[in-house]
Structure formats: structure tokens, C-alpha cells
């Protein structure tokens, strides 16, 4: 008691906001003094300058190779010369040859590259260091015009919206089957989503490995996952609060099937954003051959996602009894349309840091959805892992894996 009153006396009735600002002001003053005095006691960093540069984007045009470089290290880097396949080539830059910390510049290298050949490029810096870049298969990068965006939209619809919508045609089947099998269907969705999350996470980490470390690198995948999970959990808590109020006014009780289906749609939608990004970027770099086989592959692969959406819409559930066509169309768009957006971003402005963040977001969203719908797997004894749910999850994992083979040859 005594100490408490003493502390109160010390604070002398200063307003709370001032007490909050005081440490900030002191920190700012300390940093200012430190900078003014030139970091007393530290001296200069020893050793030669550190040059870390990431190649963020490669674009090929007739007679020209364009490289976007990002300075990832603590020191400025000056680009001096560029060699393509062990031959120096003339080049110009958009933002000068010197790249400041976290800055970027784009090199336009004049080089008569040939369709289908592989190229190794090294950028020689003023200190004699080299930045390596590789073009596994040279092909012209599509110009990002209206027709290109249309093509990417079509691609997104092919691999996203249509397959998911097709998968939702299982709705009548889902609604007919015995109520006891509902838990198994939900478990099937959970298993499928879990494998999607793993796939997205690994892919995100792989992309992050090529992203500049200064922006977070692999940590971006985890940050994206955390942010997506928290945002979705927050939205869920908000909607639950509204539902509670509605229930006290005589509305429906537990989490409805429609609501669960919406959550699954959002999770799959965020996943498909990443998927679209990968496809768009691959197409832009010429590594992806678009064809009937690919579209068929994705159709089969992503129809399983459609099934996952409609699985919670079981017969006898109050809210899913009210499912309308417009609901299904909305779910299909929420789950599938982000593939279009992803394809646009991936093809027109691929950036490994952004891609890592988005892939992470997909993971977080899926995990949140799993947490949401998993309780519906419980059997009569309240066990989450019961024979039926385990079998369902295994079936989901197996189906996604097998259909995944179609698109990952």
C-alpha cells in the first residue's frame, strides 16, 4: 500500500499520455546524440564492403535482357559491367549504376539471346564482386497489355473458378448421405486443407529463399501466416459476436453449415491467390506451357477444393437448409477468383518477397479454417480423432496428393 501511494506521488498527477510519450522522447534524444557523436567507441566497420544483391525479376525482350536488382546488404553497391554467357555486353540502367541500401535498379542488357537457350549472367560490381543470375530457358516475356491481362484472367478462371465450382456439384450428394458420414466429410476437408497448407508453406519458403533477406526472407512466410490467421480469427470473433446477439433475439444457434462453407471458401481463396501467383509468374518467364492437359489437371485437382466447400452444407442443418444458388456462386468466386488476381500479380509484377508473404497468408488462412471446422469431426463421445474422422482425413490427403500429381508431373 505504502509503495503504491509513493509511486502515485512520484508520478505527481502527470497525464497518462505524457507518461507514455516520455520514454519515446528520451529514446529519440539518445539516438540523436549517438548519431551526432558518430557512434562513440564503435569505430568503422572492419573488412571490405559487403555486397548482397538479389535478382528480383528477369524480363526478356527481343535483343534485350532486363534484370531488376535489389541491394540486400548494408553497403551501397555499384554495378560496373554485365556479362552474359561469359561475354561482356553493353547495358543501360533505369536508376543509375549505384544501388543504395534496399534500393533497386533495372539493367537493360543488349544481347541477341536465342529462344530456348539457357543463359548465365554475372553482374560485375565496382569491387570486382559478382552477382549471378540464370535464365534456364529463354523465351520472350509477354508484354503486360490488355490482352495479356485477359489471358491471365482466363487462366485464373480455368484453374480457379471453374474447377471449384465443378467440385461444388457434389452438394446434392453431400446432402443425401447419412448424417453419420458428415463428420467424415468434414474430416476429408480437413485432411485436404492440411496438405494444401503444407504445400503452400514449402512453396513459400522456396520462393523466400531467393528474396532479399533484408525484407525478411523466409520470415515473411511465417509473418504472412500469422497475420492471415489473426485477421480471420478476428473476423470470426466479430461475426460470432453478432450471431450471439442474433441468437438472443431468437436466431439460429451453433455455427451454421453456410458459415463454415464461407470460411472454407476464404481459406481456399487465399491459397489459390498463391497458386495463381505461381502460375502467372511461371507463364511470364516462359517456364509454363499452357495447355489442355494442364487445365484438365488443375480442374481435377481443384474440384476437390469445391467438394471441401460444400462438405459442411449437410441436410438437416438449419442454415444450410437455406442454401441458395447465389451462395454457391459467391463461394465459388471467393475460393476461385483470387487465382485470377494472383496470376495478374505473378505475371506482371512478380516479387519474391510479396510472393512469400502471400503464400504464408494462404497457410495461415487454411490453418484458421481447420481450427474452425475441426470440431464438426467429433463423434458421439466427443473425440476429435475417431475412426471415421481419421479415415476421412486420410482420404482427403490421398485424393489431393493423387490429383496433385496431375499438375506437378
Amino acid at each position: 500500500m505504502e509503495a503504491g501511494t509513493q509511486a502515485e506521488r512520484l508520478q505527481g498527477g502527470l497525464p497518462a499520455w505524457l507518461l507514455g510519450l516520455l520514454p519515446l522522447a528520451l529514446i529519440a534524444a539518445a539516438i540523436g546524440a549517438f548519431a551526432l557523436l558518430g557512434g562513440p567507441g564503435l569505430g568503422d566497420r572492419t573488412g571490405p564492403p559487403v555486397e548482397e544483391v538479389a535478382v528480383e525479376r528477369t524480363v526478356l525482350r527481343p535483343g534485350e535482357i532486363e534484370l531488376t536488382l535489389r541491394n540486400d546488404g548494408p553497403d551501397p553497391v555499384e554495378v560496373a559491367q554485365v556479362a552474359v554467357n561469359d561475354g561482356y555486353a553493353p547495358f543501360t540502367t533505369t536508376d543509375g549504376q549505384e544501388i543504395g541500401r534496399l534500393g533497386s535498379t533495372t539493367l537493360k542488357v543488349s544481347y541477341p539471346w536465342i529462344e530456348g537457350e539457357a543463359y548465365e549472367i554475372f553482374v560485375l560490381t565496382s569491387t570486382g564482386g559478382t552477382i549471378d543470375a540464370a535464365i534456364p530457358v529463354a523465351t520472350e516475356t509477354p508484354e503486360a497489355d490488355l490482352g495479356f491481362f485477359g489471358l491471365m484472367a482466363l487462366l485464373g478462371i480455368y484453374v480457379g473458378v471453374i474447377p471449384v465450382s465443378l467440385g461444388m456439384l457434389w452438394l446434392p450428394f453431400v446432402r443425401r448421405i447419412d448424417a453419420r458420414w458428415i463428420g467424415a466429410l468434414i474430416a476429408f476437408t480437413v485432411g485436404l486443407l492440411a496438405l494444401l497448407a503444407i504445400d503452400a508453406g514449402l512453396e513459400g519458403l522456396e520462393i523466400a529463399a531467393e528474396a532479399p533477406g533484408a525484407f525478411g526472407g523466409s520470415a515473411l512466410v511465417f509473418a504472412g501466416a500469422l497475420v492471415a490467421y489473426l485477421v480471420l480469427a478476428g473476423i470470426d470473433a466479430y461475426l460470432s459476436g453478432r450471431r450471439d446477439r442474433a441468437r438472443s433475439n431468437g436466431g439460429s444457434a451453433a455455427k451454421g453449415g453456410l458459415y463454415m462453407a464461407l470460411l472454407v471458401s476464404i481459406g481456399i481463396g487465399l491459397h489459390n491467390l498463391g497458386e495463381g501467383l505461381a502460375i502467372g509468374s511461371s507463364y511470364a518467364t516462359g517456364a509454363l506451357a499452357l495447355g489442355a492437359f494442364l487445365v484438365v489437371g488443375f480442374a481435377i485437382h481443384n474440384t476437390t477444393e469445391g467438394l471441401a466447400i460444400v462438405a459442411p452444407l449437410r441436410e438437416g442443418d438449419e442454415s444450410s437448409g437455406g442454401v441458395r444458388l447465389r451462395h454457391l456462386i459467391a463461394f465459388g468466386l471467393i475460393a476461385g477468383a483470387p487465382a485470377v488476381l494472383g496470376a495478374w500479380i505473378g505475371a506482371a509484377a512478380f516479387n519474391p518477397s510479396l510472393a512469400a508473404l502471400l503464400f504464408g497468408g494462404g497457410v495461415g488462412a487454411i490453418v484458421q479454417v481447420i481450427v474452425q471446422i475441426a470440431p464438426a469431426m467429433r463423434d458421439g463421445a466427443g473425440r476429435l480423432l475417431n475412426p471415421l474422422s481419421v479415415a476421412g482425413m486420410l482420404a482427403g490427403i490421398a485424393l489431393l496428393y493423387v490429383t496433385g500429381l496431375l499438375v506437378s508431373v
Binding site: 527481343p62 560496373a80 570486382g128 495447355g291 508431373v409
Partner: protein, 376 residues
Amino acid sequence: MSSKLSRRKMLGGALAAGASLPVIHGLLPRDNGGPPGAGAMSGHAGHAGHEDFTPAGFASGATVDHRANGFDPTELLRDFDYGKTRRLASGRVVREWTIYAQDREIEVAPGVKYEAWTYNGRVPGPTLRAREGERLRIRLVNASEHPHTIHFHGIHTALMDGMPGIGENRGGGAIAPGEDFTYEFDAEPFGLHLYHCHVSPLASHIARGLYGAFIIDPKQGRSEADEMVMVMNGFDTNFDLANEVYAVNTVGFHYVNDPIRVGRDELLRVYLVNVLEFDPINSFHVHANFFQYYPTGTSLEPSEFTDTVIQGQGQRGIVEMKFPFDGDYMFHGHVSEFAELGWSGFFRVGDPSKLSAASAAAAYCELPWGGAAGKA
């Protein structure tokens, strides 16, 4: 670097056969008769200028600052260091040099700095030139931060061999920073030789720039000619045990930007030395001409009439030719990679009377022991 996306990698070639959505590739008809390799660029309106069809080279605009380097490869070409002479009572000529080992940053390509180790602040080191049978004294002063030696190719005693571990107790062997040592031996045999540092790690000490040409003229001299030295070298600027820049006389593409002026029908003599590290062989090829080749320069009779010679590391030889026609004629390493990474140049052949004053003066210098390295 592999591919950006795993999916992309997996989807790649396996699905190519199913491609149905066409992409406009660089398959448009060629419009300007460019070389076949330029096909992909010819559809690019407004860009297919002259620049697209020039050989490999550095980005235009920037050039090497020769003044800051302290040497210009064009001047270095015909710069022979005869040292100082005095005559002993016996009548024998003693020829003396002082060479400083110095650490020095040099620009080996426009904008690319390299922490070189040098003899007398230049790479290659001075072209030491003597006459068969003279007594040579070369004092090495080590002003570098590292131990060095000068190992001469020639015939001499073990103490004078510039080998670490031999003769330290007599002031020789590895010469520590701040120390000095005088190598003394007879100029023999006549021919084209070289000298370089022999301290371990050897590749590192040589690749850093500690080498130079060493010419011993035969007693009877050689015929009059426009003489020049070409030391084929390279620089491992990122220290990955492979060269990023290749050249003759250090600066990549120098003689492309500043062609070597030579007189039509004049005898040209090139002292060609290969000191390239990390790559096992180097070569010299001249366009539109053939030359007489004297391996190691130890014979007055040429061994071959050719347009391309190969040299391993430490190999050297004398090239003699005349250009019968005016014009620009390329010379380069015939390892294409070296050529396009800097080891290329041009001879600009013209009327001898219209050669620039500077190169003419350098071309026809009087030899100190009589005769001339050029036209009398």
C-alpha cells in the same frame, strides 16, 4: 540459381507438348541482314541500331582511368626498360634495375577496381630488356605488405632464383616487407622470358599482378621492326579461382577502344607472353594475316607459319608479321570466352608516314646497344 518456383520447374518441359495458347516469340522476319544470332532482336523497332551488332564489349560511356592507374596499355605496349648500365674494367656491361613491389588498386575494366600487387606500380611489371652476355643486377625493394620475390626464367644460381626457402640466411629467398635483395646473374640464354613472384600461395601472388616480360636480345640483334610486348593476363576479381576479366596488358578490350597503330608493309614484332592463372591454356590469333612464330625466342629461325598459337602458363614466343592491307584487323584469344571477356583488340593498319607522332616515336626507338627497334 535454379528456378524461381517449384511448380514452374515441375510444369516446364513435360507439358510443353500440350501447349495450346500461342505466344509471340522472336520469330519475326529479319529485316536488316544481320547475323543469324541477331534474329531475335530484329523485330524490335527503333532499337536494332549499330550497337546490337558490335562484338562483345563493355557498357559504353565509361572508360578506364589510365592516369589513376598510373599506366596506359597503349604506352606500355612499346615501353622497354633497359635499366642503367655501366662498364666494368674488364669491358663487360653491367645492367641494373631497381624494382619496387607495391600494393596498388588498379582499374581492370571500366568501373571495376582490383587490389593488385605490382612491380613498379604497373601490371604487367616493366619489360626488362638486356643483351645476351651482359651482367644483370636487379634490386627488389619490397614496399608491399606481403613477402615477395622475383623469380626469373633464365640460367642462374639457386640463390638468384627467387625461391622462398632458398638463401634466406644470405638475404635471399622470400623478401619480407621493408626488405630488399639484389638478384645478379648473366643474361642468358637469349630469347623472350618472364619473371614473376614465387611466394606461396603461388596462384594468388601471380594472379594479383606480380609478373612481367624479360627480353634478352641476341648478341647480333634482330632485324629492324616495330616491336611491342603483349602479356596475356586476367583477373579473378571475386576471388573464386576463375577469371572475370581477360586481357593483354591488363585492361580488357583496351586495344578495341584504342587500336594499335601499325604501318602497312612494316615488320611487326610482338613479344607474346602468357601468364594467365586458373585457365590452363591461352592463345593468340590474328585476323586476315599469318605470322612467323619463334617459340621462347631462343632461335633465330621461326618454327611455324600460322595465324594461331597456343600457350600454356609461362609459355611465350615471338610473333613476326607484316600487314599488306590497310584497315582494322582483330587479334584475340581464340578461346572465345576469353575473347568476349576482354581479351580482344585491333591492329589499325595504315600508311606508315601517317602514324600518330606518339606511336611513331615509340615505334622507332633506338636500341641502346646500336641498331633500332624499328625503322632506321
